[in-house]
């Protein structure tokens, strides 16, 4: 659902988080984002990208620091508000889709928010036509390929018309054609997008801004074409230049 907020829509200040005491996963993260931005969060495996995304939607609320999403501080009491405005596309589509047909799954979110049945149907139709997945409408969610599942997952989120869309490693396990298709789709979405990935070429094609995380801290935050061209920066943090650049 749209907040109508323009300008700053995400504010993270001095955020730290640990699953186990004394083993901090995120430390002193500061990040501001505005409506309509596209942000890539990059970093090696296991450095806390997914953890950060889960904090944004309140799947964990025992962090320290300040976290304000869509105008609401992330606290257990505010979770309903926040989740109305933030869509989260899971890394693993099998965890995202659980109803019998794609159509029902897309309708699940809007129905939960008490929209009228006409409005629900309209949301479903819009999401389906936006993603060009008419052929999947009646399909059973567990009889689809990886690429189809990813698109269906995204549809379930788009139907909620969120202000912020979070995608955790969306390009993983997609073949080149599906990957290209997904890039085109993401570039059509106007909401604030936050995409975690260690597929730097994917970030290159979908995000204007990039944030590099290592050891639980933000190492760099800036324009994608600056950060992803900085070979020294990337290699010191266990990443490599995007293929599209290293070939040149």
């Amino acid at each position: 659902m749209k907040t109508g907020i323009h300008g700053e829509i995400l504010k993270i200040e001095n955020l730290s988080f640990a699953y186990e005491k004394d083993e901090p996963v995120l430390q002193d993260i500061n990040l501001h984002a505005t409506d309509g931005e596209s942000i890539g969060i990059i970093g090696a495996n296991g450095i806390g990208k997914s953890t950060l995304m889960k904090l944004l939607v309140g799947l964990n609320t025992n962090y320290s620091g300040k976290l304000v999403v869509a105008g609401h501080e992330v606290t257990p009491k505010n979770l309903n508000h926040i989740r109305e405005h933030v869509g989260y596309v899971f890394q693993d589509s099998d965890s995202q889709l659980f109803l019998s047909t794609v159509e029902d799954d897309i309708a699940f979110g809007p129905r939960n928010y008490g929209l009228s049945e006409e409005e629900v149907q309209k949301r479903v139709d819009d999401a389906i036509s936006f993603l060009h997945i008419e052929h999947l409408r009646k399909k059973s969610t567990y009889k689809m390929s990886g690429g189809e599942k990813k698109l269906a997952s995204i549809a379930t989120i788009l139907a909620m018309e969120p202000d912020i869309i979070i995608m955790d490693e969306p390009s993983i396990a997609l073949d080149p054609r599906n990957r290209r298709n997904l890039i085109n789709i993401l570039n059509k979405i106007k909401s604030l997008k936050i995409i975690t990935s260690h597929d730097l070429d994917f970030v290159m094609d979908t995000c204007e801004r990039t944030i590099l995380i290592d050891d639980g801290r933000i190492i760099a935050d800036g324009a994608t074409d600056v950060i992803l061209k900085d070979e020294k920066l990337l290699t010191t943090h266990s990443l490599e230049l995007p293929l599209s650049l290293s070939r040149m």
């Binding site: 939607v57 799947l59 309903n80 989740r83 109305e84 933030v86 869509g87 989260y88 899971f90 693993d92 099998d94 965890s95 995202q96 659980f98 109803l99 019998s100 047909t101 029902d104 309708a107 699940f108 979110g109 129905r111 939960n112 928010y113 008490g114 049945e117 567990y142 379930t156 989120i157 909620m160």
Partner: protein, 234 residues
């Protein structure tokens, strides 16, 4: 049949299983007559018996073998077919077997003609607690995923132990533990994904309007079942 209200189908199925189970253990005639429901549903619903038995393959053995020791305990002759005496134990083994089969098949009829979402909706209509409905839904959804997960673990194991037939008994504990942990992780993630889309424990499915046939269907079957059960016409 797919278009009937899920509640009617659910109630019919539950009543059927209940009545079949409560038929006396030596009373084979009403039990045979009870098959009319299964025959009807398989024909009208255009279901395949083979597919049904296949889908239910995991629980069939359990329900079929519950009565297997009865013949050893109950050796009194209760019936003669020609001049062969059939003991109470054999008889009750047969009826238990039939009851198990009927129950499984009627559950299959429900699942095959009604989506799980509709079944959950119907369960909520009759006020089954939310948490139970959610668990049923997750188990159903994760049946296939758990099977897949088990298959993956087995494959990973056998690729690294190619000379072994099957799985060494010492590895079973670890593998089963792995399997349960992974399956639980999965279930938790699905639940999180539901929460993130505004789920508050209530299924807001499309409300279904009740039509005349939605009442007639369960009531007609209830009458037939009771007539057979009480042996009113025999």
């Amino acid at each position: 049949m797919n278009n009937l209200h899920p509640l009617g189908k659910l109630l019919t199925c539950v009543l059927y299983i209940f009545l079949v189970a409560s038929i006396d253990k030596y009373d084979i005639i009403p039990l045979i007559l009870m098959s009319v429901y299964l025959v009807f549903a398989f024909l009208i619903g255009e279901l395949s018996l083979k597919e049904g038995l296949y889908r239910m393959r995991l629980i069939l053995p359990l329900v079929l073998f519950v009565g297997i020791f009865n013949p050893f305990f109950d050796k009194d002759i209760v019936l003669y077919v020609g001049n062969i005496g059939i003991s109470g134990g054999v008889m009750s083994m047969i009826t238990l077997f039939i009851k198990g089969l009927y129950s499984v098949l009627s559950a299959y009829i429900l699942i095959a003609t009604t989506s799980i979402d509709d079944i959950c909706y119907a369960l909520r209509v009759v006020k089954v607690p939310k948490i139970i409905v959610i668990v049923i839904m997750l188990i159903y959804r994760y049946f296939d995923v758990m099977a897949l997960e088990a298959h993956r673990i087995m494959t990973a194991y056998s690729l690294r132990a190619p000379s072994q037939k099957g799985i060494h008994y010492k590895a079973w504990g670890a593998l089963v533990g792995q399997w349960l942990l992974r399956s639980m992780d999965r279930a938790e993630m699905v639940y999180e994904s539901m929460l993130l889309r505004g789920f508050n424990g209530e299924f807001s499915f499309k409300k279904k309007a009740l039509k005349l046939q939605d009442f007639i269907y369960p009531i007609a079957w209830a009458c037939i079942f009771v007539i057979i059960k009480l042996r009113i016409i025999m």
